[in-house]
């Protein structure tokens, strides 16, 4: 009978992160692939699986310009398993699926990647996002939002945030600490989009309002970058020269996919589910890398994962001490998407591995970190990974 193996992240890589980079998005991807292969001590001939989210997307410029099959073809990979699709439990759902593939022996080393080129794509004319072209009518789920000017995810997330403001007393002075912490940590990450650009509480509070209570500093910025994670099977670890980090558990729950038909965002059931699949407890976690495409999503993840009670997120992060690099629960130590750029989910798992290996350099958290949580999404879709160096 076939044995179920453990799955490990054995290689990480990342391209430069920028706005309007002149480099082809496929080459940004290859930059990250090269770094991840070197990190793991593997060659491309040893890669037998590929996974990405959401696959190649042509309708939204730059959102996902490189698909799994593009990379397989371009790099002459010989794969036994691959996946590239958007109907997953959000970005890191591709990594969770890769873990299942190596656990069940369908592949030994799966190259997982997420490439974004949304800033670069906007440099070309006629590719303005959000404006339907011509007289084209809106179909599918967008029809329930677009006619009312709810044309960005911020319009939806802001409404959940407003409920926290009214129901639980969340203040902008509290919420600010997601952004301020990310920007502070970005100062210690040379690759971060906002490296060298500090943000103060006063600047945050004066920030242009986008959709109340969320201001410009609560929103990540379109970026160009690629992030790669190599997921390997337990019985293939002898081929790897890096420090492997185990994918100890994963979860991804969805009640309803319609943003406006659910009382609670998908982060909440997903956070609760994660702890049912492991013996680790929230108090064992040394650092959290929580999706912050909008700041409020990271706050909901803190509540959802049980680091504080539902509704207490604002008070939990207030003042920023607790979630600082040297605090009791360091958050988004690479800057998060608010500090490092819109890497779209994969940056959180990448950084969890950096920290658990002790390779954070100037931004390395103190002690001997062994357990981290990395998440993606949080709105209609959510994924949580529990990562352990055990």
């Amino acid at each position: 009978m076939a044995r179920v193996r453990e799955a490990f992240i054995t290689g990480i890589g990342q391209s430069q992160i920028g706005i309007g980079l002149p480099r082809d998005p496929l080459l940004l991807t290859v930059d990250a692939v090269r770094e991840a292969l070197a990190d793991a001590g593997l060659t491309k001939e040893q890669i037998d699986g590929v996974a990405t989210y959401p696959g190649r997307v042509t309708q939204v410029p730059g959102f996902s310009p490189v698909g799994a099959e593009d990379l397989i073809d371009a790099l002459h990979l010989n794969t036994r398993w691959h996946l590239g699709g958007g109907e997953l439990t959000s970005q890191l759902g591709a990594v969770a699926a890769a873990a299942d593939a190596v656990r069940t022996g369908q592949a030994r080393h799966v190259l997982c990647f997420r490439t974004v080129y949304e800033a670069g794509a906007m440099k070309f004319p006629g590719q303005k996002p959000y404006v339907p072209r011509g007289d084209a009518r809106v179909e599918g789920p967008s029809q329930w939002f677009a006619p009312f000017g709810a044309l960005s995810a911020v319009c939806w997330v802001a409404q959940y945030a407003m409920r926290h403001v009214v129901k639980y007393g969340l203040t902008r002075e509290q919420l600010a600490w997601i952004s301020l912490t990310g920007r502070a940590n970005a100062l210690k990450n040379p690759r971060a989009l906002w490296h060298g650009k500090p943000l103060t509480l006063e600047e945050y509070l004066a920030g242009k309002m986008i959709a109340s209570p969320l201001c410009i500093f609560d929103c990540d910025r379109y970026s160009d970058a690629s992030t790669v994670l190599i997921v390997s099977a337990e019985d293939a670890l002898d081929e790897v020269s890096s420090i492997p980090v185990r994918i100890a558990a994963s979860a991804g729950c969805t009640y309803r996919h319609s943003w406006d038909q659910v009382e609670w965002m998908a982060s909440y059931p997903t956070g609760r589910e994660l702890w049912k699949r492991t013996d680790y407890r929230p108090e064992d976690v040394d650092t959290v890398q929580l999706y912050d495409g909008f700041s409020f999503l990271a706050l909901t993840w803190l509540e959802a994962l049980g680091f504080c009670e539902v509704g207490e997120g604002g008070r939990f992060i207030e003042g920023g001490r607790r979630i600082a690099l040297d605090g009791e629960l360091p958050l988004n130590t690479f800057g998060g998407q608010l500090g490092a750029g819109r890497l779209h989910g994969f940056g959180f798992a990448h950084e969890a591995v950096v920290q658990l290996r002790g390779q954070g350099g100037e931004r390395q958290i103190p002690g001997d970190p062994r357990v981290a949580v990395a998440t993606s999404g949080g709105g209609p879709l959510a994924t949580a990974l529990l990562l352990a160096r055990d």
Binding site: Y130, V131, P132, D135, R137, V138, E139, P141, S142, Q143, W144, F145, A146, P147, F148, G149, A150, L151, S152, V154, C155, W156, A158, Q159, Y160, A161, M162, R163, V166, K167, K208, M209, I210, A211, S212, P213, L214, S258, W259, D260, Q261
Partner: protein, 138 residues
């Protein structure tokens, strides 16, 4: 920066959503309802998500409700929609489990609060009558 000649994004009409998007022509807000178990279905689909019956048909509902949550949108996303405007999620009276994303109109953007009583009004745009809501003042 509004553009008077620009049009709002409008839905593509099909057999499932037509009653919802055009009922305003007769002043009615239609939500699909299951004839078998009585559950309401939104967004409209040809099956009841509760009992899996496909005996679903539009039912006119009261058109009143409560602001469940909202945001004041300040960002110009579309030339036909100059900010600021209120985007809200309205819980409909007598339609358990259904929320509508909509706009609150007829008042200042700073006059909307969670819990406000609201009533539907329709904004005609070509063959579509967008259900938006205004505060009930009484």
């Amino acid at each position: 920066m509004g553009d008077a000649s620009a049009k709002r994004p409008l839905p593509h009409l099909d057999d499932h959503n037509r009653a919802f998007w055009t009922g305003g022509a007769e002043g009615r807000l239609y939500i699909l309802r299951c004839r078998s178990c009585g559950a309401f279905i939104h967004p409209p689909r040809p099956v009841c998500g509760e009992c899996l019956s496909d005996a679903v048909e539009p039912e006119a509902v009261a058109g009143t409700g409560v602001v469940d949550t909202f945001t004041v949108n300040h960002q110009p996303w579309h030339p036909a929609l100059p900010p600021p405007y209120v985007i809200a999620r309205v819980a409909l009276d007598g339609v358990p489990g259904v929320y509508l994303t909509t706009n609150i109109v007829g008042c200042g953007v700073d006059e909307v609060a969670i819990g406000d009583r609201v009533r539907v009004t329709f904004l005609p745009c070509e063959d579509v009558h967008l259900p938006v809501f205004e505060k009930v003042r009484d």
